[in-house]
């Protein structure tokens, strides 16, 4: 009992110290603060904002021996053909402080009207992606409740409208962007185009979001900003309710040496690490449960004209097996991957050159096959951005992809995955 008391005292002292070095003026420091808080004393009652992303993508992959295409060879979210124009994101939201005189409470609401993995499954339907309230009353422990981006990998946590590429890396798309099957979902083999119909999940992707409560804050020490977040969520993506009693725990830490600027393109060197632990119920057999863990670390360096980002992540359980195979996602496989990307802002122009290499390996411990039964995806993406102004830009990128598997059947499907061209216009308002 005395030990417990001493521990409680230590915790209280630590919390007090943390609270005392916390500066309420820290804001726009990182994604946690940018998305979860408003600038103290200077926030609007209700700021209307949003963005539109319109794109064209063309895939150069060849079909398998019988003329069928698997999802990586088709354009999402519909996965029917190899080229498509699409308004993939059209989001509109409101954020601010309900009562501008009180900076202790702020809110964030955002809805998705574009055609993507959130809205397209089971027929197009617009969806709310964020709805949260943050309480800033406790120094060093802000509390955010509702539906919002959980603390995690940089590629998922960052604001998508300032993402420097059009498509996610394979590791983020397959390992982190969670899919949620329903008992009525069925698998499909590779199909010929048109109307390949490879999108077999009928529920929205998780979109790196969850419904829950997060405690977080940022502390400024000289030029460094240290941030933490602890979140407890349903582990059920964008679905409002929970489908089981299991909860996901998210842990996040970042330390950033700030060079200058503000907002999503603030210059600095950020180091970060994160972990997620949860358990999923098998949609096809509700008596079965499977742990799902993800973890990663990385850094981001931005000092114009140069930018470098690298992340490594690994996971176990519920490893995605393709958008056409929802029946195979309940597994205890392992997977890992990483990426490194660099950007160069061309001096005295509005152009930016981007280069990214990403790699992903899944099925590292496939239970039903021989050892070394792995699938690997390596992608080199070269892109350019033209910034018309701070709110409008054009992205052009080409991804050279090399997919392979140790076993013949999946290898036959993946070996002809080829390049992909994508053009996207983004306008933020």
């Amino acid at each position: 009992m005395r030990v417990k008391k001493r521990q409680t005292k230590k915790l209280l002292i630590t919390a007090t110290i943390i609270g005392s070095i916390a500066t309420s003026t820290v804001q726009a420091a990182n994604w946690l603060m940018l998305q979860g808080t408003e600038p103290a004393g200077a926030a609007a009652r209700a700021k209307l904002w949003g963005f539109v992303q319109a794109q064209y993508q063309k895939d150069d992959s060849d079909p398998n021996a019988t003329g069928g295409y698997i999802p990586p060879k088709l354009i999402g979210p519909n996965l029917d053909s190899q080229s498509a124009f699409n308004v993939n994101r059209a989001r509109i939201g409101v954020r601010g402080t309900g009562m501008p005189l009180d900076s202790n409470v702020n809110y964030f609401i955002l809805a998705e009207f574009g055609n993507n993995g959130i809205t397209a499954p089971d027929g197009y339907e617009a969806a709310l992606t964020d709805a949260s309230v943050t309480l800033n009353n406790i120094p060093g422990a802000r509390i955010r409740m509702g539906m919002f981006k959980y603390p995690g990998a940089e590629e998922g946590l960052q604001a998508i409208h300032v993402f420097d590429y059009i498509n996610f890396t394979t590791v983020t798309n397959q390992l982190l962007l969670e899919r949620f099957p329903q008992s009525t979902d069925t698998n499909s083999g590779a199909q010929p185009t048109p109307e390949a119909n490879m999108a077999q999940y009928s529920r929205s992707v998780g979109a790196f979001r969850d419904v829950g409560v997060q405690v977080f804050d940022t502390f400024k020490v000289n030029n460094w900003e240290h941030s933490y977040a602890v979140m407890l969520g349903n582990g059920n993506g964008l679905n409002y309710g929970d489908n089981d009693d299991n909860k996901d725990l998210y842990l996040y830490w970042s330390s950033e040496m700030v060079f200058g600027g503000k907002g999503g393109r603030r210059e600095g060197l950020k180091l970060f690490a994160w972990q997620q632990d949860g358990t999923r119920t098998n949609a096809f057999d509700k008596t079965q449960e499977q742990d799902r863990t993800r973890a990663g670390l990385g850094f981001k360096y931005l000092s114009k004209p140069f930018r470098v980002t690298a992340e490594y992540m690994k996971g176990e359980g519920m490893i995605f097996q393709g958008q056409h195979r929802p029946g195979h996602i309940f597994n205890n496989e392992e997977a890992s991957g990483s990426y490194i990307e660099a950007g160069w802002y061309v001096a005295n122009t509005n152009f930016e050159i981007d280069l990214r290499y990403d790699t992903y390996t899944r099925g590292e411990n496939h239970p039903t096959s021989a050892t070394n039964d792995e699938s690997r995806a390596d992608t080199m993406t070269i892109g350019t951005q033209y910034h018309f102004n701070k709110k409008s830009r054009l992205n052009l990128e080409y991804a050279d992809r090399d997919f392979e598997s140790d076993t013949s059947v999946p290898h036959a499907q993946q070996k002809d995955v080829g390049g992909r061209l994508a053009v996207q216009f983004t306008h933020i308002f």
Binding site: T25, A40, G41, A42
Partner: protein
Amino acid sequence: MRTFYKSLVLLLAMAFIFPVSAANDFAEEKIVIQISDPDPLKQTQVLNVANNLIKHYGKNKVSIEIVAFGPGLRLLFKENVNSDRINSLTTDEVTFSACKNTIAAITKKLGHAPVLHSDAKPVAAGVVRIIDLVNQGYKLIKP
């Protein structure tokens, strides 16, 4: 000794006739900037204007007072994200005035008095302060 007393009396008389103000009496320009708007961008704009005036004229040649009232008083809240800029402008002898009427109204709404920046000087009424300054030769700017 008589000369000393005479000088003292003269100085005291001058002090009553020409009351000392916070303003820089050697200033070539006297500017009062009004902030009464809830728009957060206005806060930045007001501080930018003050900064640009100091850059243009030099801090010894311009006298600047920023008067905040109504929703604009949020600029002078202690927690305001611009407080570092206010500190910096204060060292450049910019004066920040906070309307007491607004403070009273906010106190009623919040249930407690707002905590203001340590350099904010309460004035009876923001709008009256502006009129007084204009009568003293200040030029009013409302960005």
